[in-house]
Amino acid sequence: MRVAVPVFPGSNCDHDALHACGTVMGWDTIPVWHQETRLPEGTELVFVPGGFSYGDYLRCGAIAALAPIMADIRRHADGGGLVLGVCNGFQILCEAQLLPGALLRNESLRFIHADIHLRVERADLPFTRAMKPGEVFQVPIAHAEGNFTLDPADLADLEARGGVAFRYCSPKGEIGEAHVPNGAMNGIAGIVNLRGNVLGMMPHPERAVDPKLGPTGGLGMFRSLAEAFAKA
């Protein structure tokens, strides 16, 4: 399996992505500078990493969404290729309009870093197929702008088409405002496009995969991807 990790000026989770996909999963994982115009031949997954691309100038992810490599990432997605955006990567995918919505400043107005729980809302995706619907897993968040927002009509559409992949929840899987760390509408932590091949999420599954470094709640997603590619 070949994974491309686009690297923007200000990306700082690119090495987490490289470690998770390359070292832990053993996939052929290649960093790709944002000025490149082509993804490596045979790329199956594009992992858009977290960080502060372009210093969050204008809006988080807005400038990265225009980087030269994004045109080829769009082509990859349009062809059904998998794209996973985490944290700033999620913001970039929204700004690039590969996913709907926007990530606003956290309701608390603070940067939040914490281990949180997510409930799997869609277990039929290449990103989640090794997990069960309603399964709860623990992964870290680390962001100031993770407050997912969409206008009410589009939010209703997103919910109706099953576009919500993950919701914040209690350790037991209960949903509710008390378990939403950042004010995100409907407790949305991650969403997927209509075709099911582009997923964006604020939490960091790639930071919870190596037992040498701590908990491994993020492994379910990586096992899912491994399964998806074994079948392909």
Binding site: L58, A62, L66, A102, L104, R105, E107, L109, D151, G183
Partner: protein, 78 residues
């Protein structure tokens, strides 16, 4: 021609900067509410026809300057 694009958060969208500044003003004893902070973008756009120049600025708003999920803009040709 000189163009000024003013970008504001839509009503109802949380504005932490505005809130912080409002609290700061309250600290000085000013009675003030609904403080909202936006962004002003000034630029020179080639052309002499204000209608045409404004149309160009509108296209810039749609492509990059404004995120319609959370922001709205007004354009002034100066």
């Amino acid at each position: 021609m000189k163009v000024r694009v003013s970008v504001q958060l839509k009503p109802g969208i949380l504005d932490p900067q505005g809130k912080a500044v409002e609290q700061g003003l309250h600290g000085f004893g000013f009675e003030v509410e609904h403080v909202r902070i936006g962004r002003l973008i000034d630029m020179d756009v080639p052309g002499t026809d204000p209608v045409e120049v404004k149309a160009k600025a509108l296209a810039m708003c749609e492509k990059l300057l404004v995120n319609p999920v959370m922001e709205k803009a007004s354009i002034e040709v100066l």
